[in-house]
């Protein structure tokens, strides 16, 4: 099927070309000198690494090294203004006299501050000072994560920015998580934020799930954390309007490290450690659901069924310490005209279960050069290869959790037991299946900054994101549960081409007024190739391929191409550099829109007012204060071809070609739109010792795309998208930064990120959206999106029989409140303790493991209850002390038991990381300029009343939006030692 060419795409391309044609530089030759110096933190005199030192309006600049040193060569002779900036520090500026052929020295001291209004962030129109922006932008810099034991890019986001919620989904190494910015504002179109890496948009979803692991890999995690310079998180439609359709879930911008002028600076890093799992499952269960202990005492169910597993490892536990090793090497350097950053990394992480692990490696090359004085070109490329070795997990009859935790009811019955009267299981057979997801991720792109004058700025980014995954599961010939063997293969390739142009022109009116006009456009060409084959019945043993099987079934073959293109215009009026009014309009076209939809406009309006710039402002107490507010729209396009009525080709009559009704189609389909209003302020007080960033937001999604079901009696069984719904999200975000102490030998700071998300479906066109009936997860008018609904015990704490009501609201599926405190203490400028914790509150999860295992007498919290319930048949007093909720949950009466009783609050606190770093003396390692030794722990402990294994897990294959804990492996803790040396 082919569609007419997109007029919006053409218009955008033409606009891009017109803007590209604007002028070319003329290089000029002149006398130059050198400027060098050191950047430090005042008071403690701690050298500051990674600060940007540059000459504004030119391409001349450098980053400070580990000792805080910088050097700028080929600086034009004469009076030159140098500016120094770094995330988390107040900008500094000074004028230096540079003599031709001579070296000038300029040292700087950067004040640590929670609110730096002149800090530059990147918006859709280009680089902008924070003081000009009317919405909240969270930024995480390299320093924040350098000492933390982050495993991947997803880990960086957890707890470090307000409005960001990260759920890890699984404890398997390599598993991708779920990321939400300000909650869910779409029922059907996904809520993943869009992601840019160095201006190149990358695929923001997960790979297809591995059918046996029930988990997927996140391409976001292919970005090596050590390569990341900073991450900016733009959270709502009011801020993402100019990013166009698909941006209503927010935008995450990742900027990787750049080169700096000077001699090559090498950084080598080596990490070693191990993953370790503590006790699994309810504390009443001393065997840890027979995972912690699979030999010896306790191999008996609550109903007295004994079992034995001769294949249990000699250690007596299925769990092990999984070694972790990681190596990284990078070099950066260059001349004033050409800089480079090169890096390579390799990591190998074993899981805590046999055969699980993840191995990855990659390299990056970032280059920047000035082909002319007014032109800077940056080329950024990276490649990552990852092999994730999964364990069979989740809702999988051959899964580890599903079988081991069921004791004698494992599907892997076997032989070799010493006692003929026990049930004999051979769970080691589970690990003979091999599930892998092997990914290749290549990102490349270039950015051209053309600055013909201080007033006129142009930026063109062109990029290519290439993702490929080879996803396999092999049940070898002779596998206990399927002796003839089976192989699943999924070949997935996803590419995304980005063309992004933004230009702005600044015009001064008198002394006080400045107009900045911006325009630009973007074009995204997204292609997907996905083929899945199931092959069954191998001819014999040996390592199989698809053709080793007698039966081969192509179960999926997608080859789609979608183009999304748009252009924008923005006008900003500034008054005295303290009041900024910005109005913008984005216009988008998308091949998914129905015939009745053409271009879609998304407007925005924002204001920023820096009150602390007034003379009357009490600067002695509150030195910085900015009020801001914004209202804007963004949208989400429907699926690529949701507007069209189709039939699906199938096979019937034993392999004969056939058709079946596919999709009903809707010619009136358009994007859903989210309008957001946010207001807030940023303040810094007491000399930067206290910072507060506060935001209130309200999002209203209208024309929400809801999958409306049509009568099945009309033949088409798939639901059809319609623009019928309205959703709402409100919340607050606050970040509190505290500098408790700033002494030469003691620095102590703390931060608290606090976010709330209250979502509600306002109107669903009368529909109840079923996201997962067995997950008891629905979207209903008047309730959070999504929520759990079902049977509820109305007298949970009463010592009585349960009173059960149908169709009750049971709770929000996603957390509604996040509190993430962190602290950092530095002693003697060398020893630093960092800690980050996180509370996630208000969420719920269906504990399907308990539901299933309780019915088999294998859920230990129910064992005593079930004995009392059995005894009550003859002695009703046996139930004394047993609550109604316990009776409902633990009953084995099929007419009573229900998944819904096991929807539990997931309120938890997790100690995300603790690290202790020591900056080694420079002379300890010959030739080293700096060296740091870090000992760290990740996910060290959790506090929760959730009775399942982990409140963050979910079966990704079962549901994309609903969440259900169905035998998914919990997250483990990790211990790491890292040595980082710079030469």
């Amino acid at each position: 099927m082919r569609f007419p060419r997109s007029p919006a795409a053409r218009a955008t391309v033409a606009a891009l070309l017109c803007l590209l044609a604007a002028g070319s530089p003329a290089a000029a030759q002149q006398a130059t000198g050198r400027v060098q110096g050191v950047v430090r933190v005042p008071g403690t005199q701690r050298p500051l690494a990674g600060a940007q030192v540059f000459v504004p309006g030119t391409g001349i600049g450098a980053l400070t090294d580990g000792a805080g040193r910088y050097a700028l060569d080929r600086v034009p002779a004469g009076s030159v203004t140098l500016r120094v900036q770094m995330l988390g520090y107040a900008q500094a500026e000074r004028t230096v006299q540079v003599a031709a052929g001579a070296t000038a020295t300029a040292d700087f001291e950067l004040e640590e501050t929670a609110v730096a209004l002149n800090e530059v962030v990147v918006t859709a129109t280009g680089e902008t000072r924070k003081r000009e922006i009317g919405n909240s932008v969270s930024a995480i810099n390299a320093q924040e994560i350098q000492r933390a034991p982050v495993r991947n890019a997803q880990d960086i986001l957890a707890g470090r920015a307000t409005g960001v919620n990260v759920l890890s989904n699984s404890g398997q190494p390599g598993a991708g998580g779920t990321i939400r910015l300000r909650g869910n504002n779409s029922v059907t179109q996904g809520n993943n934020p869009i992601i840019y890496v160095d201006g190149v948009r990358i695929y923001n979803g997960l790979t297809p799930t591995n059918v046996y692991a029930r988990q997927a890999v996140s391409p976001l995690n292919d970005i090596d954390p050590d390569d990341i310079d900073r991450i900016e998180v733009v959270k709502g439609p009011a801020a993402t309007t100019l990013y166009g359709t698909e941006a209503s879930g927010g935008v995450i911008q990742i900027f990787t490290k750049r080169g700096m002028a000077g001699a090559p600076s090498w950084t080598a890093e080596i990490s070693g450690g191990f993953n370790n799992m503590g006790h699994i499952g309810p504390k009443e269960d001393k065997t840890g659901m027979w995972l912690n202990r699979c030999r010896g005492d306790g191999l008996v169910t609550g109903t007295g069924v004994r079992f034995e597993d001769p294949t249990c490892p000699a250690s007596g536990s299925w769990l092990r310490n999984g070694p972790i090793q990681k190596y990284g090497l990078s070099v950066r350097g260059g001349t004033p005209d050409v800089t480079y950053f090169l890096s390579a990394n390799y990591g190998d992480e074993e899981g805590v279960l046999p055969t699980s692990g993840s191995k990855d490696g990659g390299f990056r090359g970032n280059f920047s050069f000035h082909p002319a004085k007014t032109v800077q070109v940056a080329l950024n490329s990276s490649y990552n290869k990852r092999n994730t070795r999964w364990i069979p997990d989740g809702n999988n009859a051959s899964g580890v959790m599903l079988n081991v935790t069921r004791g004698p009811d494992s599907n892997f019955k076997g032989s070799g037991c010493s006692d003929p009267d026990v049930v004999c299981v051979n769970n080691a057979e589970i690990f003979k299946s091999q599930s892998n997801t092997i990914t290749d991720h290549f990102i490349t792109g270039f950015t051209v900054d053309y600055l013909p004058s201080d007033r006129f700025r142009n930026k063109l980014s062109v990029g290519y994101d290439y993702n490929q995954a080879d996803i396999t599961t092999v049940l070898p010939f002779g596998f206990l549960r399927l002796p003839s063997g089976q192989m699943y293969w999924n070949g997935w390739r996803r590419t995304l081409i980005t063309v992004d142009l933004a230009s702005s022109y600044r015009l001064d009116f008198g002394r006080d007024w400045v107009s900045t006009t911006s325009a630009g456009g973007q074009l995204f060409d997204s292609r997907l190739n996905n083929t899945a084959v199931t092959a069954t019945n191998f001819s014999g043993p040996g390592k199989p391929t698809l053709i080793s099987a007698a039966l081969r079934d192509v179960t999926d073959d997608d080859r789609t191409r979608v183009i999304n293109a748009g252009f924008f215009g923005q006008e900003q009026i500034a008054w005295k550099d303290r009041l900024f009014i910005t109005a913008g309009l984005r216009v988008d076209g998308n091949s998914a829109f129905g015939e009745s939809f053409g271009l879609q406009p998304y407007p925005k309006l924002s204001a920023s007012y820096v009150l602390s710039d007034y003379d009357w402002w009490p600067k002695s107490t509150v030195e910085t204060f900015k009020l801001r507010g914004a209202v804007g729209e963004s949208g989400k396009a429907p699926g690529a071809f949701d507007a069209v009525r189709t039939w699906s080709p199938i096979a019937g009559e034993d392999g004969q070609p056939a058709f079946t009704p596919g999709q009903l189609g809707n010619p009136d389909l358009g994007p859903e739109r989210t309008r957001e209003t946010e207001v807030g302020f940023e303040a810094s007080a007491f000399g930067g010792r206290v910072g507060l960033d506060f935001t209130y937001y309200k999002q209203h999604t209208f024309d929400a795309l809801i999958a409306v079901s049509y009568p099945p009696s009309e033949g088409f069984l798939t639901n059809q998208l319609e623009n019928v719904g309205q959703l709402q999200n409100t919340g607050i975000e606050a970040r509190l930064d505290l500098q408790f102490l700033r002494r030469p030998n003691l620095e102590w700071s703390g931060h608290v990120n606090f976010s709330t998300v209250n979502s509600k479906a306002l109107d669903l066109g009368g529909q109840v959206i079923t996201l997962g009936s067995l997950a008891r997860t629905y979207v209903k008018e008047g309730y959070p999106v999504p929520g759990y609904f079902g049977k509820k015990v109305m007298n949970p704490d009463a010592i009585a029989d349960p009173i059960i009501e149908d169709d009750q609201y049971l709770g929000s599926a996603f957390p509604t409140k996040t509190i993430a405190p962190s602290t950092s203490i530095t002693l003697f400028r060398r020893l630093t303790l960092d800690a980050l914790g996180e509370w996630q509150l208000g969420g719920h999860l269906l504990n399907a493991v308990a539901y299933q295992n309780a019915n088999k007498g294998e859920w230990f919290p129910c064992v005593d209850v079930q004995k009392k319930m059995a005894a009550a048949a003859t002695d009703p007093s046996a139930l004394n002390g047993v609550t109604a909720l316990q009776r409902a949950r633990c009953t084995t009466d099929g007419t009573v038991r229900d998944y819904a009783f096991w929807v539990e609050p997931t309120d938890f606190f997790k100690m995300r990381s603790i690290s202790l770093s020591y900056d080694l003396p420079a002379n300890l390692i010959p030739g080293a300029r700096s060296a740091t030794l870090t000992i760290a722990g990740r996910n060290l402990f959790k506090i929760t009343d959730y009775t399942g294994t982990d409140p963050e897990v979910t079966d990704v294959r079962d549901y994309s939006f609903a969440r259900r804990d169905y035998y998914n492996f919990p997250t483990s803790r990790s211990f790491l030692a890292t040595l980082r040396v710079s030469f």
Binding site: R406, G414, A658, P661, S713, L717
Partner: protein, 407 residues
Amino acid sequence: MWGTQMKATRLAAVAAAALALGACDLSVENPGPIPDAELNTAGAMPALVNGMSADLSVAVDLMARYGSVLADELAHSGNYAAEGYFYRGVIPPENVNDVWGDMQRARWVAEHGIDRLKEVLGSGFESSPLAIRANLYAGYANRLLGENVCDAVIDGGPKQPYTEHFTRAEAYFTEALRLAQAQGNTALANAALAGRAQVRADLGNWDGAAQDAALVPTSYHFDAIFSTNTERENNTLAYETQTRREYTVYNTQWAQNSNKDPRVPWDTVKTSAGKIQTGQDGKTPFFRQMKYKGLDAEIPLAKGTEMLLIRAEAALRKGDVPGAVELINQERTAYGLAPASAATLEEAWPLLQKERGAVTWLEARRFGDLRRWFAASGPEKNNFLQGRATCVPISDEEMHSNPNLGG
């Protein structure tokens, strides 16, 4: 400032680039799904009719599974929540969205496919075997619905008596018979006769049913087709019993047969310890049905042996016990079984009901038979459904989405 010449050069470059890009392919693609209008070609008609067959097989397969535990054919020995309810005789409307949808789709594609066939084939419709098949699939889809659902709903319309499906089925079978006879296609004519005999019986027209049934050879069968070719074509009842152990023969009337009745074959599986394997639930003894051993095992839609039993039931309804027993024994002989005996209606009805149960075992027929006998008041009264659901209700999805049902 740009010079005039420079400006002209750049504009020309832009124009050239724009032209070049204009020539680029910016169209979007989604090969695979077929737009509705593109089906209106003669070449697509065989696949359209194959699709009717495929959708009918999917519906028969799922109804055979659900029907087995709703009736007295199998017991539930697994973890599936829906089957847990069904086995207890409870049918929550939210748990039948799948089977209701599958059965309705099978009916819709066949009925509307006939209209498309007529439009596309024109005068060729009368001479096309596809026309016979399409009418047969429409007939059997309606029969499947009529025998299992509580109410009929046609194309998003209002609720009607379930017998509407039998009326429609009879019309489609009659049309199939006319076309088959005109085309000299004996095999498909038998399929039409057998189907019409079934629905005439369902409508209470026992004379008409017996007349049609008498014309069908005992050895004849017309099947829903299954295959290992693709997963969608699999007989999932075979998977759920041969591989997963979700259903068991244990604790049913058939478990008493000690595996002697070739119409109801089952066996047991032993663990390595020599004990009988339990079902997927870990506790119910697993007796494995062996009627469908593979994923490609066909499920009969109509059989000559069932025709004998339709005639036997027609005879019983006239009080002709010897005549009925004679027909029952013809059926038993066809399976190599010794003759049975019954002297009175009170003896003959249970015999007939058990014979029908054995002959149509796991063919998505028993639940409908039990409803028919449960509704009766004479000696044919069967109380298995006492206190249990007697039919598949309109699904939640239909109720919520069909404006004629208040959705």
